[in-house]
Amino acid sequence: MAADLSGIVIAPPTRSAKVAGIYRKFKRWPVIPVFLLGLVVFSGLFAPLISPHDPEKGELRERNIPPAWSSGEKATKTVVERMSINERTTTVTLSDAQKTDPAVQIGDQIEVFSRPAGSTKFLLGTDHLGRDVLSRVIYGARISLLVSIVTLAVGGSIGVVMGLAAGWYGGVVDEILMRLVDIKLAIPLILIALVLVITLGQSLWIIVTVLCLFIWPRFARQVRGEVLQLKHMDYVSLAKVSGASTARILFIHIFPGTINTLIVVATLQVGIVILLESTLSFLGAGVPPPTPAWGSMVADGRDKLAGGVWWISTFPGIAIMLTVMSLNLFGDWLRDTLDPRLRQLE
Protein backbone atom coordinates (compact mmCIF):
# COMPACT_ATOMS: atom_id res chain seq x y z
CA MET A 1 0.00 0.00 0.00
CA ALA A 2 1.40 3.33 -1.02
CA ALA A 3 1.82 5.93 1.70
CA ASP A 4 -0.58 8.78 1.55
CA LEU A 5 1.44 11.82 0.62
CA SER A 6 -1.39 14.12 -0.24
CA GLY A 7 -1.13 16.11 2.97
CA ILE A 8 2.53 16.98 2.49
CA VAL A 9 3.25 20.37 1.08
CA ILE A 10 6.70 21.13 -0.18
CA ALA A 11 7.69 24.49 1.23
CA PRO A 12 8.90 27.06 -1.29
CA PRO A 13 12.62 27.74 -0.84
CA THR A 14 13.20 30.35 1.81
CA ARG A 15 15.23 33.45 1.10
CA SER A 16 18.28 32.10 2.89
CA ALA A 17 18.01 28.83 0.99
CA LYS A 18 17.97 30.77 -2.27
CA VAL A 19 21.08 32.69 -1.21
CA ALA A 20 22.73 29.42 -0.26
CA GLY A 21 21.83 28.00 -3.67
CA ILE A 22 23.44 30.92 -5.48
CA TYR A 23 26.45 30.61 -3.21
CA ARG A 24 26.76 26.91 -4.06
CA LYS A 25 26.56 27.63 -7.75
CA PHE A 26 29.37 30.16 -7.43
CA LYS A 27 31.32 27.61 -5.48
CA ARG A 28 30.83 24.94 -8.10
CA TRP A 29 31.78 27.10 -11.05
CA PRO A 30 34.58 29.62 -10.63
CA VAL A 31 32.50 32.42 -12.12
CA ILE A 32 34.33 35.40 -10.70
CA PRO A 33 37.88 34.13 -11.34
CA VAL A 34 37.05 33.19 -14.93
CA PHE A 35 35.43 36.57 -15.49
CA LEU A 36 38.46 38.42 -14.09
CA LEU A 37 40.90 36.32 -16.12
CA GLY A 38 38.81 36.97 -19.20
CA LEU A 39 38.99 40.68 -18.44
CA VAL A 40 42.79 40.55 -18.18
CA VAL A 41 43.13 38.65 -21.46
CA PHE A 42 40.67 41.01 -23.14
CA SER A 43 42.57 44.07 -21.86
CA GLY A 44 45.81 42.63 -23.10
CA LEU A 45 44.50 41.78 -26.56
CA PHE A 46 42.52 44.94 -27.19
CA ALA A 47 44.52 47.46 -25.15
CA PRO A 48 44.80 50.04 -27.99
CA LEU A 49 41.03 49.95 -28.53
CA ILE A 50 39.81 50.21 -24.96
CA SER A 51 42.37 52.36 -23.18
CA PRO A 52 41.26 56.00 -23.03
CA HIS A 53 44.75 57.55 -23.37
CA ASP A 54 48.23 56.84 -24.66
CA PRO A 55 49.94 54.88 -21.85
CA GLU A 56 53.39 56.26 -22.59
CA LYS A 57 52.66 59.95 -23.09
CA GLY A 58 51.43 62.43 -20.56
CA GLU A 59 51.19 66.14 -19.99
CA LEU A 60 53.30 67.32 -17.07
CA ARG A 61 50.61 69.92 -16.39
CA GLU A 62 48.26 67.01 -15.62
CA ARG A 63 50.54 65.09 -13.27
CA ASN A 64 49.42 63.52 -9.97
CA ILE A 65 45.71 63.99 -10.59
CA PRO A 66 43.77 61.76 -8.18
CA PRO A 67 41.14 59.21 -9.24
CA ALA A 68 37.80 60.50 -10.51
CA TRP A 69 35.91 60.05 -7.21
CA SER A 70 38.46 62.05 -5.20
CA SER A 71 37.29 65.52 -4.21
CA GLY A 72 40.73 67.05 -3.91
CA GLU A 73 42.08 69.07 -1.03
CA LYS A 74 41.68 72.75 -0.30
CA ALA A 75 43.95 75.00 1.66
CA THR A 76 43.83 78.65 2.69
CA LYS A 77 46.58 80.64 1.03
CA THR A 78 47.65 84.25 1.01
CA VAL A 79 47.68 86.08 -2.30
CA VAL A 80 51.06 87.66 -3.03
CA GLU A 81 52.48 89.38 -6.03
CA ARG A 82 55.54 87.20 -6.40
CA MET A 83 56.01 83.86 -4.76
CA SER A 84 59.26 82.74 -3.16
CA ILE A 85 60.17 79.08 -3.35
CA ASN A 86 59.97 78.32 0.38
CA GLU A 87 56.51 79.86 0.73
CA ARG A 88 54.97 77.74 -1.98
CA THR A 89 52.63 75.89 0.35
CA THR A 90 51.17 79.01 1.99
CA THR A 91 51.00 81.55 -0.81
CA VAL A 92 49.56 81.90 -4.28
CA THR A 93 50.45 84.45 -6.96
CA LEU A 94 48.01 87.15 -7.90
CA SER A 95 47.84 86.06 -11.52
CA ASP A 96 46.98 82.46 -10.54
CA ALA A 97 44.40 83.59 -8.01
CA GLN A 98 42.69 85.85 -10.54
CA LYS A 99 42.03 82.89 -12.81
CA THR A 100 39.40 81.64 -10.37
CA ASP A 101 38.23 84.97 -9.01
CA PRO A 102 39.21 88.20 -10.82
CA ALA A 103 38.31 90.35 -7.81
CA VAL A 104 41.06 89.17 -5.43
CA GLN A 105 43.82 91.50 -4.35
CA ILE A 106 47.25 91.12 -2.83
CA GLY A 107 47.06 90.22 0.85
CA ASP A 108 43.69 88.43 0.61
CA GLN A 109 43.24 85.00 2.16
CA ILE A 110 41.59 82.64 -0.32
CA GLU A 111 40.69 78.96 -0.52
CA VAL A 112 42.48 77.18 -3.33
CA PHE A 113 43.03 73.56 -4.32
CA SER A 114 46.29 72.26 -2.93
CA ARG A 115 45.50 69.07 -4.78
CA PRO A 116 43.11 69.10 -7.71
CA ALA A 117 39.90 67.10 -7.62
CA GLY A 118 39.69 64.01 -9.78
CA SER A 119 38.13 64.24 -13.22
CA THR A 120 36.33 61.72 -15.37
CA LYS A 121 39.00 62.28 -17.99
CA PHE A 122 41.36 60.16 -15.90
CA LEU A 123 39.27 57.56 -14.06
CA LEU A 124 42.13 56.20 -11.95
CA GLY A 125 44.13 59.43 -11.93
CA THR A 126 47.49 60.20 -13.48
CA ASP A 127 51.04 59.39 -12.44
CA HIS A 128 54.01 61.67 -11.71
CA LEU A 129 54.53 62.24 -15.45
CA GLY A 130 50.88 62.93 -16.19
CA ARG A 131 50.21 59.55 -17.78
CA ASP A 132 46.79 57.96 -17.37
CA VAL A 133 46.97 55.23 -14.71
CA LEU A 134 43.99 53.29 -16.12
CA SER A 135 45.53 53.09 -19.60
CA ARG A 136 48.82 51.97 -18.13
CA VAL A 137 47.11 49.26 -16.07
CA ILE A 138 45.30 48.05 -19.22
CA TYR A 139 48.50 47.99 -21.26
CA GLY A 140 50.37 46.38 -18.35
CA ALA A 141 48.27 43.25 -18.84
CA ARG A 142 50.09 42.75 -22.17
CA ILE A 143 53.51 42.29 -20.60
CA SER A 144 52.20 39.91 -17.96
CA LEU A 145 50.34 37.88 -20.58
CA LEU A 146 53.22 37.76 -23.02
CA VAL A 147 55.75 36.77 -20.36
CA SER A 148 53.54 34.07 -18.89
CA ILE A 149 52.61 32.53 -22.23
CA VAL A 150 56.19 32.35 -23.51
CA THR A 151 57.57 31.17 -20.16
CA LEU A 152 54.91 28.52 -19.84
CA ALA A 153 55.46 27.24 -23.37
CA VAL A 154 59.25 27.08 -23.17
CA GLY A 155 59.79 26.30 -19.47
CA GLY A 156 56.88 23.87 -19.43
CA SER A 157 58.20 21.97 -22.48
CA ILE A 158 61.67 21.69 -20.99
CA GLY A 159 60.18 20.45 -17.75
CA VAL A 160 57.98 17.89 -19.49
CA VAL A 161 60.83 16.46 -21.56
CA MET A 162 63.14 16.30 -18.54
CA GLY A 163 60.44 14.71 -16.43
CA LEU A 164 59.65 12.11 -19.10
CA ALA A 165 63.32 11.22 -19.41
CA ALA A 166 63.92 11.05 -15.67
CA GLY A 167 60.85 8.96 -15.00
CA TRP A 168 61.46 6.59 -17.90
CA TYR A 169 65.19 6.00 -17.61
CA GLY A 170 65.54 6.41 -13.85
CA GLY A 171 69.02 5.84 -12.41
CA VAL A 172 71.67 8.40 -13.24
CA VAL A 173 69.41 10.61 -15.37
CA ASP A 174 66.92 10.77 -12.53
CA GLU A 175 69.62 11.55 -9.97
CA ILE A 176 71.06 14.37 -12.08
CA LEU A 177 67.62 15.89 -12.60
CA MET A 178 66.81 15.82 -8.91
CA ARG A 179 70.14 17.46 -8.07
CA LEU A 180 69.39 20.19 -10.61
CA VAL A 181 66.12 20.77 -8.81
CA ASP A 182 68.00 21.05 -5.51
CA ILE A 183 70.41 23.56 -7.00
CA LYS A 184 67.59 25.62 -8.41
CA LEU A 185 66.00 25.78 -4.98
CA ALA A 186 69.26 26.86 -3.38
CA ILE A 187 70.07 29.76 -5.71
CA PRO A 188 68.37 33.12 -5.28
CA LEU A 189 67.24 33.25 -8.91
CA ILE A 190 65.97 36.81 -8.60
CA LEU A 191 69.54 37.91 -7.89
CA ILE A 192 70.82 35.98 -10.90
CA ALA A 193 68.17 37.71 -13.01
CA LEU A 194 69.25 41.09 -11.69
CA VAL A 195 72.91 40.36 -12.47
CA LEU A 196 72.03 39.33 -16.02
CA VAL A 197 69.92 42.43 -16.55
CA ILE A 198 72.61 44.75 -15.20
CA THR A 199 75.32 43.22 -17.38
CA LEU A 200 73.38 42.46 -20.55
CA GLY A 201 70.79 45.23 -20.44
CA GLN A 202 67.06 45.21 -19.79
CA SER A 203 65.09 43.02 -22.12
CA LEU A 204 62.02 40.84 -22.23
CA TRP A 205 64.04 37.81 -23.29
CA ILE A 206 66.31 37.79 -20.26
CA ILE A 207 63.27 37.86 -18.01
CA VAL A 208 61.68 34.99 -19.90
CA THR A 209 64.91 32.95 -19.77
CA VAL A 210 65.25 33.36 -16.02
CA LEU A 211 61.60 32.58 -15.42
CA CYS A 212 61.93 29.42 -17.53
CA LEU A 213 64.86 28.37 -15.33
CA PHE A 214 62.58 29.01 -12.41
CA ILE A 215 59.53 27.01 -13.43
CA TRP A 216 60.79 23.94 -15.30
CA PRO A 217 61.61 21.87 -12.18
CA ARG A 218 57.99 21.99 -11.00
CA PHE A 219 56.83 20.46 -14.29
CA ALA A 220 59.69 17.98 -14.35
CA ARG A 221 58.90 16.66 -10.88
CA GLN A 222 55.22 16.35 -11.62
CA VAL A 223 55.72 14.52 -14.91
CA ARG A 224 58.39 12.28 -13.42
CA GLY A 225 56.00 11.13 -10.73
CA GLU A 226 53.29 10.40 -13.28
CA VAL A 227 55.68 8.48 -15.54
CA LEU A 228 56.81 6.32 -12.63
CA GLN A 229 53.22 5.25 -12.17
CA LEU A 230 52.27 4.90 -15.82
CA LYS A 231 55.31 3.03 -17.08
CA HIS A 232 54.23 -0.18 -15.36
CA MET A 233 50.79 -0.13 -16.94
CA ASP A 234 49.85 -3.02 -19.19
CA TYR A 235 49.20 -0.87 -22.22
CA VAL A 236 52.72 0.52 -22.03
CA SER A 237 54.22 -2.98 -21.86
CA LEU A 238 52.04 -3.91 -24.79
CA ALA A 239 53.32 -0.98 -26.81
CA LYS A 240 56.87 -1.99 -25.94
CA VAL A 241 56.30 -5.58 -27.03
CA SER A 242 54.72 -4.49 -30.29
CA GLY A 243 57.94 -2.66 -31.11
CA ALA A 244 57.09 0.99 -30.54
CA SER A 245 60.11 3.25 -30.18
CA THR A 246 60.85 4.84 -26.80
CA ALA A 247 60.00 8.29 -28.15
CA ARG A 248 56.67 6.99 -29.43
CA ILE A 249 55.83 5.35 -26.12
CA LEU A 250 56.75 8.47 -24.17
CA PHE A 251 54.96 11.03 -26.31
CA ILE A 252 52.03 9.05 -27.72
CA HIS A 253 51.27 6.66 -24.86
CA ILE A 254 52.51 8.21 -21.63
CA PHE A 255 52.42 11.97 -22.16
CA PRO A 256 48.63 12.18 -22.75
CA GLY A 257 48.14 10.54 -19.37
CA THR A 258 49.87 13.45 -17.68
CA ILE A 259 47.93 16.23 -19.36
CA ASN A 260 45.26 16.66 -16.68
CA THR A 261 47.89 17.19 -14.03
CA LEU A 262 49.89 19.46 -16.30
CA ILE A 263 46.94 21.78 -16.90
CA VAL A 264 46.50 22.19 -13.16
CA VAL A 265 50.19 22.75 -12.52
CA ALA A 266 50.40 25.22 -15.40
CA THR A 267 47.50 27.32 -14.12
CA LEU A 268 49.01 27.57 -10.66
CA GLN A 269 52.47 28.28 -12.09
CA VAL A 270 51.23 31.18 -14.21
CA GLY A 271 50.29 32.94 -10.99
CA ILE A 272 53.83 32.47 -9.72
CA VAL A 273 55.30 33.65 -13.03
CA ILE A 274 53.21 36.83 -12.92
CA LEU A 275 54.29 37.50 -9.34
CA LEU A 276 57.96 36.96 -10.23
CA GLU A 277 57.80 39.07 -13.37
CA SER A 278 56.26 41.93 -11.45
CA THR A 279 58.86 41.53 -8.71
CA LEU A 280 61.63 41.81 -11.29
CA SER A 281 60.12 44.89 -12.86
CA PHE A 282 59.57 46.38 -9.40
CA LEU A 283 63.29 45.95 -8.68
CA GLY A 284 64.12 47.67 -11.96
CA ALA A 285 64.95 44.58 -13.99
CA GLY A 286 61.78 44.30 -16.04
CA VAL A 287 60.97 45.47 -19.53
CA PRO A 288 62.65 48.80 -20.17
CA PRO A 289 60.57 51.96 -19.53
CA PRO A 290 58.37 53.63 -20.66
CA THR A 291 56.56 50.38 -21.57
CA PRO A 292 53.99 49.95 -18.81
CA ALA A 293 54.39 46.88 -16.59
CA TRP A 294 52.47 46.43 -13.36
CA GLY A 295 55.55 45.90 -11.19
CA SER A 296 57.40 48.99 -12.39
CA MET A 297 54.25 51.09 -11.97
CA VAL A 298 54.14 50.12 -8.30
CA ALA A 299 57.79 51.15 -8.06
CA ASP A 300 57.03 54.49 -9.77
CA GLY A 301 54.48 55.40 -7.13
CA ARG A 302 56.51 54.20 -4.17
CA ASP A 303 58.25 57.44 -3.25
CA LYS A 304 55.12 59.50 -3.93
CA LEU A 305 53.21 57.83 -1.09
CA ALA A 306 54.62 60.07 1.60
CA GLY A 307 53.01 63.01 -0.21
CA GLY A 308 49.64 61.28 -0.11
CA VAL A 309 49.73 60.24 -3.78
CA TRP A 310 48.56 56.68 -3.25
CA TRP A 311 46.87 55.83 -6.55
CA ILE A 312 49.97 55.31 -8.71
CA SER A 313 51.08 52.25 -6.69
CA THR A 314 47.71 50.97 -5.56
CA PHE A 315 45.91 50.17 -8.82
CA PRO A 316 48.59 48.16 -10.63
CA GLY A 317 49.09 46.21 -7.38
CA ILE A 318 45.39 45.43 -7.25
CA ALA A 319 45.61 44.28 -10.87
CA ILE A 320 48.42 41.86 -9.98
CA MET A 321 46.64 40.63 -6.89
CA LEU A 322 43.31 39.99 -8.61
CA THR A 323 44.98 38.23 -11.54
CA VAL A 324 47.02 35.94 -9.33
CA MET A 325 44.07 35.35 -7.03
CA SER A 326 41.87 34.36 -9.96
CA LEU A 327 44.54 32.01 -11.26
CA ASN A 328 44.87 30.39 -7.83
CA LEU A 329 41.12 29.96 -7.42
CA PHE A 330 40.71 28.70 -10.97
CA GLY A 331 43.65 26.33 -10.51
CA ASP A 332 42.21 25.00 -7.26
CA TRP A 333 38.91 24.39 -8.96
CA LEU A 334 40.59 22.68 -11.92
CA ARG A 335 42.54 20.49 -9.55
CA ASP A 336 39.46 19.42 -7.64
CA THR A 337 37.67 18.72 -10.88
CA LEU A 338 40.36 17.12 -13.02
CA ASP A 339 42.66 15.52 -10.55
CA PRO A 340 41.78 15.33 -6.87
CA ARG A 341 44.91 13.31 -6.16
CA LEU A 342 47.00 16.44 -6.60
CA ARG A 343 45.44 18.06 -3.56
CA GLN A 344 48.08 16.48 -1.37
CA LEU A 345 50.96 17.95 -3.30
CA GLU A 346 50.30 21.61 -2.80
Binding site: I183, L185, P188, L194, T279, F282, L283, G295, I320, M321
Partner: protein
Protein backbone atom coordinates in the same frame (compact mmCIF):
# COMPACT_ATOMS: atom_id res chain seq x y z
CA UNK B 1 70.50 7.18 10.51
CA UNK B 2 74.25 7.57 10.12
CA UNK B 3 74.13 6.52 6.49
CA UNK B 4 71.33 8.98 5.89
CA UNK B 5 73.31 11.78 7.52
CA UNK B 6 76.39 11.10 5.41
CA UNK B 7 74.39 10.95 2.18
CA UNK B 8 72.50 14.11 3.03
CA UNK B 9 75.73 15.92 3.93
CA UNK B 10 77.37 14.91 0.66
CA UNK B 11 74.34 16.15 -1.26
CA UNK B 12 74.48 19.50 0.51
CA UNK B 13 78.16 19.74 -0.39
CA UNK B 14 77.55 18.95 -4.06
CA UNK B 15 74.81 21.58 -4.20
CA UNK B 16 77.08 24.22 -2.67
CA UNK B 17 79.87 23.35 -5.10
CA UNK B 18 77.55 23.63 -8.11
CA UNK B 19 76.22 26.95 -6.93
CA UNK B 20 79.76 28.27 -6.52
CA UNK B 21 80.53 27.14 -10.08
CA UNK B 22 77.44 28.92 -11.42
CA UNK B 23 78.39 32.09 -9.56
CA UNK B 24 81.94 31.88 -10.85
CA UNK B 25 80.74 31.49 -14.44
CA UNK B 26 78.35 34.40 -14.03
CA UNK B 27 81.05 36.66 -12.67
CA UNK B 28 83.31 35.85 -15.64
CA UNK B 29 80.51 36.21 -18.19
CA UNK B 30 79.73 39.62 -16.81
CA UNK B 31 83.12 40.91 -17.94
CA UNK B 32 86.69 41.40 -16.83
CA UNK B 33 86.68 42.64 -13.21
CA UNK B 34 89.66 44.88 -14.02
CA UNK B 35 87.31 47.22 -15.86
CA UNK B 36 85.82 48.08 -12.47
CA UNK B 37 89.02 48.36 -10.49
CA UNK B 38 91.05 50.38 -13.00
CA UNK B 39 90.21 53.66 -14.69
CA UNK B 40 91.11 55.08 -18.09
CA UNK B 41 94.45 56.44 -16.87
CA UNK B 42 95.82 53.03 -15.93
CA UNK B 43 98.65 51.68 -18.06
CA UNK B 44 98.96 48.26 -19.64
CA UNK B 45 101.44 47.48 -16.86
CA UNK B 46 98.84 48.17 -14.16
CA UNK B 47 96.41 46.02 -16.09
CA UNK B 48 98.83 43.06 -16.22
CA UNK B 49 99.92 43.45 -12.61
CA UNK B 50 96.31 43.52 -11.47
CA UNK B 51 95.64 40.44 -13.58
CA UNK B 52 98.50 38.61 -11.88
CA UNK B 53 97.25 39.62 -8.42
CA UNK B 54 93.71 38.47 -9.16
CA UNK B 55 94.91 35.38 -10.99
CA UNK B 56 93.29 36.46 -14.26
CA UNK B 57 96.36 35.51 -16.31
CA UNK B 58 95.75 31.83 -15.57
CA UNK B 59 93.32 29.54 -17.42
CA UNK B 60 89.71 29.50 -16.25
CA UNK B 61 89.81 26.20 -14.37
CA UNK B 62 92.75 27.46 -12.29
CA UNK B 63 90.90 30.72 -11.65
CA UNK B 64 87.97 28.71 -10.35
CA UNK B 65 90.39 26.80 -8.13
CA UNK B 66 91.70 30.05 -6.67
CA UNK B 67 88.14 31.27 -6.12
CA UNK B 68 87.21 28.02 -4.35
CA UNK B 69 90.33 28.03 -2.20
CA UNK B 70 89.53 31.55 -1.05
CA UNK B 71 85.89 30.70 -0.50
CA UNK B 72 86.78 27.76 1.74
CA UNK B 73 88.81 30.05 3.95
CA UNK B 74 85.93 32.53 3.97
CA UNK B 75 87.86 34.91 1.75
CA UNK B 76 85.80 36.41 -1.09
CA UNK B 77 88.18 39.22 -1.89
CA UNK B 78 87.67 42.88 -1.24
CA UNK B 79 84.52 44.90 -1.77
CA UNK B 80 85.12 47.50 -4.49
CA UNK B 81 82.68 49.98 -3.01
CA UNK B 82 83.66 49.71 0.63
CA UNK B 83 87.36 48.86 0.25
CA UNK B 84 87.06 46.25 2.99
CA UNK B 85 87.04 42.44 2.92
CA UNK B 86 83.70 41.10 1.64
CA UNK B 87 83.40 38.72 4.60
CA UNK B 88 83.57 41.63 7.02
CA UNK B 89 80.75 43.51 5.28
CA UNK B 90 78.59 40.40 5.01
CA UNK B 91 79.02 39.50 8.68
CA UNK B 92 78.09 43.05 9.61
CA UNK B 93 74.83 42.90 7.67
CA UNK B 94 73.82 39.28 8.30
CA UNK B 95 72.26 39.69 11.79
CA UNK B 96 69.59 42.11 10.52
CA UNK B 97 68.48 39.65 7.84
CA UNK B 98 68.55 36.67 10.21
CA UNK B 99 66.49 38.62 12.73
CA UNK B 100 63.96 39.65 10.10
CA UNK B 101 63.78 36.11 8.74
CA UNK B 102 63.35 34.61 12.21
CA UNK B 103 60.56 37.03 13.17
CA UNK B 104 58.80 36.52 9.83
CA UNK B 105 59.11 32.74 10.15
CA UNK B 106 57.70 32.81 13.67
CA UNK B 107 54.89 35.06 12.49
CA UNK B 108 54.05 32.66 9.66
CA UNK B 109 53.83 29.76 12.12
CA UNK B 110 51.90 31.68 14.77
CA UNK B 111 49.31 32.79 12.23
CA UNK B 112 49.30 29.82 9.87
CA UNK B 113 49.19 26.85 12.24
CA UNK B 114 46.38 27.94 14.63
CA UNK B 115 44.28 29.35 11.81
CA UNK B 116 44.82 26.15 9.82
CA UNK B 117 43.69 23.98 12.73
CA UNK B 118 40.66 26.18 13.40
CA UNK B 119 39.70 26.20 9.73
CA UNK B 120 39.83 22.41 9.59
CA UNK B 121 38.04 21.80 12.88
CA UNK B 122 35.36 24.38 12.17
CA UNK B 123 35.14 23.53 8.50
CA UNK B 124 32.52 25.44 6.53
CA UNK B 125 31.98 28.13 9.16
CA UNK B 126 32.84 31.83 9.20
CA UNK B 127 36.17 30.86 10.78
CA UNK B 128 37.01 28.73 7.77
CA UNK B 129 36.00 31.53 5.42
CA UNK B 130 38.21 33.97 7.31
CA UNK B 131 41.12 31.55 7.08
CA UNK B 132 40.57 31.20 3.34
CA UNK B 133 40.54 34.98 2.95
CA UNK B 134 43.84 35.40 4.84
CA UNK B 135 45.40 32.63 2.77
CA UNK B 136 44.10 34.01 -0.51
CA UNK B 137 45.46 37.51 0.13
CA UNK B 138 48.79 36.10 1.27
CA UNK B 139 49.21 33.95 -1.82
CA UNK B 140 48.06 36.55 -4.31
CA UNK B 141 49.31 39.94 -3.17
CA UNK B 142 52.84 40.66 -4.37
CA UNK B 143 55.00 41.27 -1.26
CA UNK B 144 56.49 44.50 -2.60
CA UNK B 145 53.02 45.96 -3.06
CA UNK B 146 51.69 44.59 0.21
CA UNK B 147 54.64 46.21 1.97
CA UNK B 148 54.00 49.55 0.33
CA UNK B 149 50.31 49.42 1.21
CA UNK B 150 50.99 48.47 4.83
CA UNK B 151 53.58 51.23 5.01
CA UNK B 152 51.15 53.78 3.59
CA UNK B 153 48.36 52.83 5.97
CA UNK B 154 50.15 52.12 9.25
CA UNK B 155 53.06 54.53 8.94
CA UNK B 156 52.05 57.41 6.67
CA UNK B 157 48.30 57.64 7.41
CA UNK B 158 48.06 56.39 10.98
CA UNK B 159 51.59 57.05 12.16
CA UNK B 160 51.51 53.98 14.42
CA UNK B 161 54.71 52.38 13.17
CA UNK B 162 57.93 53.70 11.67
CA UNK B 163 57.79 53.56 7.85
CA UNK B 164 61.33 52.30 7.24
CA UNK B 165 64.79 51.71 8.66
CA UNK B 166 65.79 49.81 11.78
CA UNK B 167 65.80 51.92 14.90
CA UNK B 168 63.19 51.02 17.50
CA UNK B 169 61.95 47.52 18.28
CA UNK B 170 58.68 48.21 16.47
CA UNK B 171 60.34 48.97 13.14
CA UNK B 172 60.52 45.22 12.49
CA UNK B 173 56.73 44.78 12.56
CA UNK B 174 55.87 45.92 9.04
CA UNK B 175 58.75 44.16 7.22
CA UNK B 176 58.21 40.93 9.14
CA UNK B 177 54.47 40.88 8.46
CA UNK B 178 55.06 41.62 4.77
CA UNK B 179 57.67 38.88 4.50
CA UNK B 180 55.80 36.34 6.61
CA UNK B 181 52.28 36.66 5.23
CA UNK B 182 52.88 34.53 2.15
CA UNK B 183 54.27 31.69 4.25
CA UNK B 184 51.55 32.11 6.84
CA UNK B 185 49.12 31.53 3.98
CA UNK B 186 51.02 28.47 2.79
CA UNK B 187 51.23 27.02 6.31
CA UNK B 188 47.55 27.67 6.84
CA UNK B 189 46.62 25.72 3.75
CA UNK B 190 49.00 22.87 4.52
CA UNK B 191 47.90 22.50 8.12
CA UNK B 192 44.25 22.72 7.14
CA UNK B 193 44.41 19.99 4.50
CA UNK B 194 46.66 17.75 6.61
CA UNK B 195 44.34 18.24 9.56
CA UNK B 196 41.27 17.36 7.48
CA UNK B 197 42.96 14.15 6.33
CA UNK B 198 44.02 13.18 9.83
CA UNK B 199 40.61 13.94 11.35
CA UNK B 200 39.14 11.55 8.81
CA UNK B 201 41.48 8.67 9.73
CA UNK B 202 40.63 5.44 11.52
CA UNK B 203 42.58 6.08 14.69
CA UNK B 204 40.81 9.38 15.28
CA UNK B 205 37.50 7.64 14.82
CA UNK B 206 38.64 5.03 17.34
CA UNK B 207 39.61 7.72 19.82
CA UNK B 208 36.22 9.34 19.36
CA UNK B 209 34.50 6.00 19.79
CA UNK B 210 36.42 5.45 23.02
CA UNK B 211 34.97 8.72 24.23
CA UNK B 212 38.13 10.84 24.37
CA UNK B 213 37.08 14.48 24.51
CA UNK B 214 37.50 16.36 21.31
CA UNK B 215 40.04 18.89 22.61
CA UNK B 216 42.36 16.02 23.56
CA UNK B 217 41.83 14.39 20.18
CA UNK B 218 42.69 17.55 18.31
CA UNK B 219 45.70 18.53 20.37
CA UNK B 220 47.19 15.10 21.05
CA UNK B 221 46.30 12.88 18.15
CA UNK B 222 45.56 15.07 15.18
CA UNK B 223 47.79 18.10 15.66
CA UNK B 224 51.09 16.23 15.80
CA UNK B 225 50.48 14.44 12.54
CA UNK B 226 49.20 17.56 10.89
CA UNK B 227 52.56 19.22 11.63
CA UNK B 228 54.53 17.02 9.23
CA UNK B 229 53.63 18.82 5.96
CA UNK B 230 54.45 22.31 7.31
CA UNK B 231 57.71 20.92 8.65
CA UNK B 232 58.65 19.65 5.21
CA UNK B 233 57.66 22.96 3.77
CA UNK B 234 59.76 24.83 6.34
CA UNK B 235 62.91 23.99 4.37
CA UNK B 236 61.54 25.67 1.28
CA UNK B 237 60.20 28.51 3.41
CA UNK B 238 63.53 29.42 4.93
CA UNK B 239 65.20 29.40 1.53
CA UNK B 240 62.48 31.56 0.07
CA UNK B 241 62.48 33.92 3.05
CA UNK B 242 66.04 34.70 2.12
CA UNK B 243 65.04 35.64 -1.43
CA UNK B 244 62.00 37.46 -0.11
CA UNK B 245 64.30 39.58 2.01
CA UNK B 246 65.66 41.09 -1.23
CA UNK B 247 62.31 42.71 -1.94
CA UNK B 248 61.17 43.47 1.58
CA UNK B 249 64.49 44.97 2.65
CA UNK B 250 64.45 47.17 -0.43
CA UNK B 251 60.93 48.40 0.32
CA UNK B 252 61.57 49.08 4.02
CA UNK B 253 65.23 50.15 3.77
CA UNK B 254 66.09 47.35 6.20
CA UNK B 255 69.90 47.19 6.59
CA UNK B 256 70.33 43.48 5.86
CA UNK B 257 71.86 41.20 3.24
CA UNK B 258 69.02 41.58 0.74
CA UNK B 259 69.51 45.31 0.48
CA UNK B 260 73.27 44.81 0.49
CA UNK B 261 72.91 42.56 -2.56
CA UNK B 262 70.87 45.18 -4.42
CA UNK B 263 73.33 47.92 -3.44
CA UNK B 264 76.28 45.80 -4.56
CA UNK B 265 74.52 45.04 -7.81
CA UNK B 266 73.86 48.63 -8.75
CA UNK B 267 77.40 49.62 -7.72
CA UNK B 268 78.85 46.83 -9.94
CA UNK B 269 80.54 45.49 -6.81
CA UNK B 270 80.87 41.88 -8.00
CA UNK B 271 83.09 40.47 -5.23
CA UNK B 272 80.56 41.70 -2.68
CA UNK B 273 77.67 40.32 -4.71
CA UNK B 274 79.36 36.90 -4.95
CA UNK B 275 79.87 36.88 -1.22
CA UNK B 276 76.22 37.68 -0.56
CA UNK B 277 74.93 35.06 -3.00
CA UNK B 278 77.19 32.38 -1.48
CA UNK B 279 76.00 33.40 1.99
CA UNK B 280 72.36 33.15 0.91
CA UNK B 281 73.03 29.71 -0.55
CA UNK B 282 74.77 28.54 2.60
CA UNK B 283 71.93 29.75 4.80
CA UNK B 284 69.48 27.87 2.61
CA UNK B 285 71.53 24.67 2.48
CA UNK B 286 72.11 24.67 6.23
CA UNK B 287 68.43 25.21 6.91
CA UNK B 288 67.39 22.51 4.44
CA UNK B 289 69.91 20.12 5.98
CA UNK B 290 68.75 20.73 9.55
CA UNK B 291 65.12 20.35 8.54
CA UNK B 292 65.71 17.15 6.59
CA UNK B 293 67.47 15.64 9.58
CA UNK B 294 64.70 16.78 11.92
CA UNK B 295 62.17 15.36 9.52
CA UNK B 296 63.94 12.01 9.31
CA UNK B 297 64.02 11.98 13.09
CA UNK B 298 60.27 12.59 13.34
CA UNK B 299 59.26 10.26 10.52
CA UNK B 300 61.40 7.09 10.33
CA UNK B 301 60.05 6.22 6.88
CA UNK B 302 62.23 8.96 5.36
CA UNK B 303 65.50 7.52 6.65
CA UNK B 304 65.26 4.33 4.70
CA UNK B 305 63.91 5.77 1.49
Amino acid sequence: MQKFLVRRFLLAFVTLLSVSLIIFIMSRVSGDPRHIYLDDYSTQEDWDRMGAVLGLDKPYYQQYGIFLKGAFRGDFGESVREGRPVTEVVIERAPATLLLGAVAFTFSLLIGVPLGILSAVKRGTMMDAFGKFVALIGQSAPPFWLGIMLMFFFAVKMGWLPPYGKQDWNSIVLPAVTLGWYYAAANLRLVRSAMLDVLDSEYIKLARAKGVNSRAIIMKHAFRNALIPPLTFAGVTIGALVTGSLVVETVFAWPGLGRLAIEALFAFDYPLLQGVVITFTMIYITAAFVIDVAYAYVDPRIRYA
